[in-house]
Every structure is written in structure tokens, then in C-alpha cells.
Symmetry: C2
Subunit: 371 residues, 2 copies
């Protein structure tokens, strides 16, 4: 029997907190990613460490990769703030698939930022320049990729208009709940984003993988439904997806969110501030040192362990090592945090140095897009 | 007491049949047009004959006309077929206001044609070329006006995106009933059409009159609501409107509709076919000649009398004359129809000759718009 109190509800616009990822397989028909690992010639750390835990129709992508057939990767960011650790996972997956041969699409979801968060387009444009610099600093290759803003890409708006005719209110309510019309419209545009790589201008129908956080799955469900409804007209191949887990909030709250600064740090943050947030973070530790030495701590509820796992273990075997040190009380939370602060500081400084070199490029791309 | 069985329901996408226009004043807050007539220096036949029977905030337009202040007129057509007698009223009002000093906007509502009727954009483009030729043949001045297609005018789509955030599903259901998402989206775009003349690029906020059939009032209600919600951002003046009555269907059905060919004729129709439709039309006549000579006929339910009234009386006093001839049984339906056929044939032939000269211009405008 399923314990319905722990049933996750997936909400791309709100709070999604998931305690048991197994439910997603049963409830939403998401497939586990682990069994595919052995077939992927080169994997990412996030895949190997179970951060990427689920997929829809990834087999189609695997086949394209193996046979060197054309495929695309598509994802993006809502430009409401600087890159954070969630945007980082997505961007790394996009860069990875691009390196594996995919044509890469990266969307600045400024219509969603407006409809969901009320951010004016002039404001999100400024944020987006930094987001693009982040993406480029992480290795995105502009020669084999397309970066665009929803508000300036007429093709995604026109796809939304085309799709509208076949979308009932009942469908939207079932997928997103009762929302204002702007959010529904922004969701239709996101379906347009996901299917954009398959338009004639981009070489026509092809497998497309969308690496996203699991809270974004509703957009995938809508896009897959529309791909099938408009298959005759556009020849769409149903889009595939990979899902990564949601990284725990540093402050012990339900989800890392831009609305709560202490819940996360950004890649553009002052390293000292980031260090302080780590220092103050919630952990899986015991109330006293004595108890922790005796009973050990609990990494499975710890955002610090999550941070290591999602981004900052150098080698895969470091995961098991820290897990054991933590469970047995060999390491205390303070020491564990200090180690992490060192790694994070190095990473953030290094990233910011690279990012700085791409800021002008980011602005240039946006200016070109705004014309 | 109101007899609720006769309450009109206004549905821009469906069948609207109105037996008692007085209800509209009470139910929807539409103002009677007649009291304004004396203040308008130059009126149209449709205004004088009560075809234009209602308005919202027309006083604002009157003031602009008197003080020679900038104002706009905005209306359009859903390109699902050739101009018919309804499109003719609207176009004539648009041309009239343009001649009175308004900047004129005429919208080819191809998004609505797609969302409501499923007409592909390539198909409605062909229809639209003819519609524009009709408009030009009726005297629309391109030097003081702007003709555009919704699907190619990014500003109306962008207004729809801006508006979406402040529109709840409850509002849409109250105005339009439960519809698919595409129709709601198309309604947001129509609100964009109505407010387009007030954007900076067109000289900023100004009184705008929208002459439409009464069934289109829901779009006005939405646009007026949005004008007020977005007043701070755009400075919108609440749009005004004039409402014309819906011309009775020739075949006695509820509404002239492109879906029922016998219910109407188009301005591009073979004059013989138009004549035949008039010959076969439903009338307010009696079952026998004898009875009609004795008791007279009923012009108030007669589409033939409507046709005269809406378009084909040369002088206003002809209306009273025919009304009396009909009521007293002095004229029989056959003779009345034959007279009308003569007038209509002349009009249609004349219009088609003019229209032919503008077809290339219509295509040229559309090609320019499609780039």
C-alpha cells in the first residue's frame, strides 16, 4: 500500500519536496535511470551518483548517441536570479549532452519569470546576461548551440498559439492545478520551447532530451501530450527527459528557493557569504558531540552531504567514505562543513573568474536577441 | 419584471440571437446610442436608423471629435470567408471614423480564425487578401490607417502575455464560459488588438472607439477590465465602443453565419446567387396574398426589411415608407424582394468592380505583413 501522506506532488511553480523518489516511478510512470548506466559509454558524476535518478524515454537518446544520429538537448533557466546549485546541475547536463553530439538549446524563460514571479522583462534581461555568462563558463559551446529568450523567440509563442486549440482547461487543471491564465500561457510556451528543436528550421523531428529537476516534470507531460496531438502536422518525436533530485535547502526548509537567501548560495555569490551559509546550515548531526561520536549522524537528511553528493565530491568513492565517517560518528558536522567550505570557495572563485570573461559575450548575445 | 427567457446571452464565438435589445442596457450596462445622435455633427445611416443602437463611453470619442483631439478607431474581421453584410457594417463605421479624424486600425483576426474555427494560417492568409481588398474598396485610407494580421503582429501577442498574469480563470469563465485554452488565448490577443492603438509606437494613450456587432461585447468587457488593470503601466484610456444590431439571417435561422450559406450572401458572391438567396428568403409575410392584403405583413421579423434598413435604403425616409406599405399590405413580399434584388445587384456589381482593383494591393499588404 502506498502511504498517500508521502505522495509527492510535482509543482513547477511552487514548493516541491520529495521524501521518497520511488513513488514517482509508480505514480507518474517515470523510469529509473540506474539500469541504463551500464549502456552509457560516458556518464556524468550526477548520473553515477544517483542525482539523475529517473527518465522518460531516454532509450531513444541512448540509441541516437550510439548510432551517431542527430539528437538535441534542451533546457533552460528562469532568469529570476544568479545561477544556483540547481541551475548548475541542469547546465552541466546540457553541456554533457552537447559534448556527446547533441545540438543544444538553452532557453531564458523570461515569460515564465514574468507570469510566475512578476519580473518585468527589462529586469530579467539584466539577470539573463549573467546567466548566459555562467552557462558559457561551464563549457556551453555557442557554435553548436542556440541560446534564446522566450519573449523574443516568436517561434515558441507561435507554437503556443498552435497548441492552444487542442488544450482543454481540464487538462491544464489536471497537470498544474487551477492557475491564472498567464501561467497556463507560459506553460504552453514552455511546451513550445521543448518542441522547438524539432522544427524544420532546426533540421526537423529528432529525439530531444530535456534534463530538468523533477519538479519540472509537469511541463514534460504537457509537451509529450502535445507532441502526440500535433504529430501529424509537425512530425514531432515525443521528447525524452532526465530528472535530477532536488537538492536539500541549506536552512532545513522544504526546497532551495531564490525567495529564501539562506536556503542556498549562488555561483556569483561572495565566497565568504557562501561559507557563512554553509557554516550555519542545518545538518543530519546529533544535538551533542558526545551523542554524535556514539550514535553517528544521518547523511540522508543532511543538505551538507547533499552538496558534496550533487557537486563537490572529486571522486565517486569519496561518497561512500564520507557516508561511513558520518554514520559512525567519526566526523563531526563542523569539520565536515569546513572541508566543504574549502572546496566550495575554490570552486566559486574559479567559476567567477571564468564567468567574468563571458559577461560581455552574455550581454552581446542578449542584445542580438533583443533586436 | 424581466422575462428571463428572453435574456440575451452574448457569445462572440457562437450563436447570439437577440429579440429585445433593451435587456442589454439593463443587463450589461450598455448605453443607448440614440440620445447622442443630436450631438454628432455628421452621422452614418446605420446610426440614424438605429442599426447602431448602443455604446460604451462614446462620450469620450464625441469629445475628441469635437475638440479635434487625437483618437483611434479599431475593428477587424475573422478571415474565415469573404466580407458579408455584418463585416460591411463594421467596415463602413471604421471608414466613417477615419474620415472624422481617427487613426484607423483594422485587424485580420487570423489567430481567432485558427483557435475558433481551426482555419490554418496559410488558408486564412488567402481569404484575408480579399478582405483587405473589400476594406479598401469601401474607402479605407491606408495612409491614415494600419492593417495587420494578429499572427504576424508581435505587439498584440506580447500584450496578451503581459495581460495573462492579471487574468484569472474565473474572469474568463464569467465572460466567455468554459472554453479551450486556445480561445482564451485568442481573447487575450483581441484585448491586445483593442489596446494596440494606445502603445507608444502609435502615439500613446488615446480614446479608441471599437465599432462591433453586439455579440463581440465580451471582448470589450475584457479589454476594458485590462485597460484599468494595466493603466499604471501603459496609461491606457478605457476603450469605447459602438454596437450594431445583428442582421437577421435570410433563411429565418438564428444568426447569419458563414457556416450556413443560405443565411447570407457575401460581397464577392455571384449577383445571381445573391438574388436567388433573397428570392428564397424567409419574410414577415402572410401565408396567402389575400391575408396579406387584408392584415398586412410584419417587417419587424423580416430579414428583407432588415437588409433594406441595414444597408440598402437610399434615403432615411424610405424606411418609414416601406414600413407602412408592408404593415398595410400595400406591398407583397415578392415585389419587395424584387426591388431589393435590383438594389443589391447594382451594389454588389459596383463593389466587385472596385474590389478587383484592390486585390493586388491586398496581397501586397499581406506579403509585407508576413515578412
Amino acid at each position: 500500500m502506498l502511504d498517500s501522506s508521502k505522495k509527492p506532488s510535482l509543482d513547477p511553480f511552487g514548493q516541491t519536496s520529495i521524501e521518497n523518489y520511488d513513488y514517482l516511478y509508480e505514480e507518474f510512470g517515470i523510469q529509473p535511470f540506474k539500469p541504463l548506466l551500464q549502456d552509457i559509454p560516458e556518464t556524468t558524476a550526477a548520473m553515477r551518483r544517483g542525482v539523475v535518478f529517473g527518465h522518460r524515454d531516454f532509450d531513444r537518446i541512448l540509441k541516437a548517441m550510439k548510432l551517431h544520429e542527430g539528437f538535441a538537448v534542451m533546457s533552460g533557466i528562469k532568469p529570476t536570479g544568479d545561477f544556483h546549485l540547481g541551475s548548475l546541475i541542469t547546465a552541466r547536463e546540457v553541456v554533457y549532452f552537447q559534448q556527446q553530439g547533441a545540438t543544444a538549446f538553452y532557453c531564458i524563460a523570461d515569460v515564465e519569470a514574468y507570469e510566475d514571479n512578476g519580473i518585468p522583462f527589462e529586469k530579467s534581461e539584466k539577470t539573463a546576461a549573467g546567466n548566459i555568462a555562467d552557462l558559457l563558463a561551464l563549457g556551453f559551446n555557442l557554435d553548436k548551440g542556440y541560446v534564446y529568450r522566450q519573449s523574443k523567440e516568436e517561434r515558441v509563442k507561435d507554437l503556443a498559439i498552435a497548441f492552444g486549440r487542442r488544450v482543454t482547461l481540464a487538462t491544464m487543471k489536471a497537470i498544474y492545478g487551477e492557475r491564472h491564465l498567464g501561467l497556463y500561457l507560459s506553460s504552453l510556451i514552455q511546451a513550445g520551447d521543448i518542441l522547438l528543436p524539432q522544427l524544420k528550421e532546426f533540421g526537423g523531428p529528432k529525439p530531444t532530451v530535456v534534463p530538468v529537476g523533477i519538479d519540472q516534470d509537469p511541463h514534460l507531460r504537457l509537451a509529450r501530450d502535445l507532441a502526440s496531438k500535433f504529430n501529424r502536422r509537425y512530425g514531432f518525436v515525443s521528447p525524452s527527459s532526465t530528472y535530477h533530485k532536488l537538492i536539500k535547502a541549506l536552512d532545513g526548509s522544504a526546497k532551495m528557493t531564490k525567495r529564501a537567501p539562506a536556503s542556498h548560495f549562488t555561483l556569483n555569490e561572495n565566497p565568504e557569504t557562501a561559507a557563512k551559509k554553509i557554516s550555519n546550515a542545518f545538518t543530519g548531526g546529533q544535538p551533542t558531540v558526545k551523542k554524535q561520536r556514539e550514535a553517528g549522524a544521518n547523511p540522508s537528511i543532511c543538505p551538507i552531504y547533499d552538496l558534496y553528493m550533487f557537486h563537490f565530491f572529486e571522486k565517486d568513492e569519496d561518497a561512500a567514505k564520507l557516508y561511513n565517517e558520518c554514520r559512525t560518528g567519526k566526523i563531526l558536522c563542523g569539520e565536515c562543513k569546513n572541508r566543504l567550505i574549502e572546496v566550495v570557495t575554490r570552486f566559486v572563485q574559479d567559476h567567477q573568474r571564468k564567468r567574468l570573461q563571458f559577461i560581455d559575450k552574455g550581454k552581446e548575445i542578449l542584445e542580438r536577441l533583443s533586436r
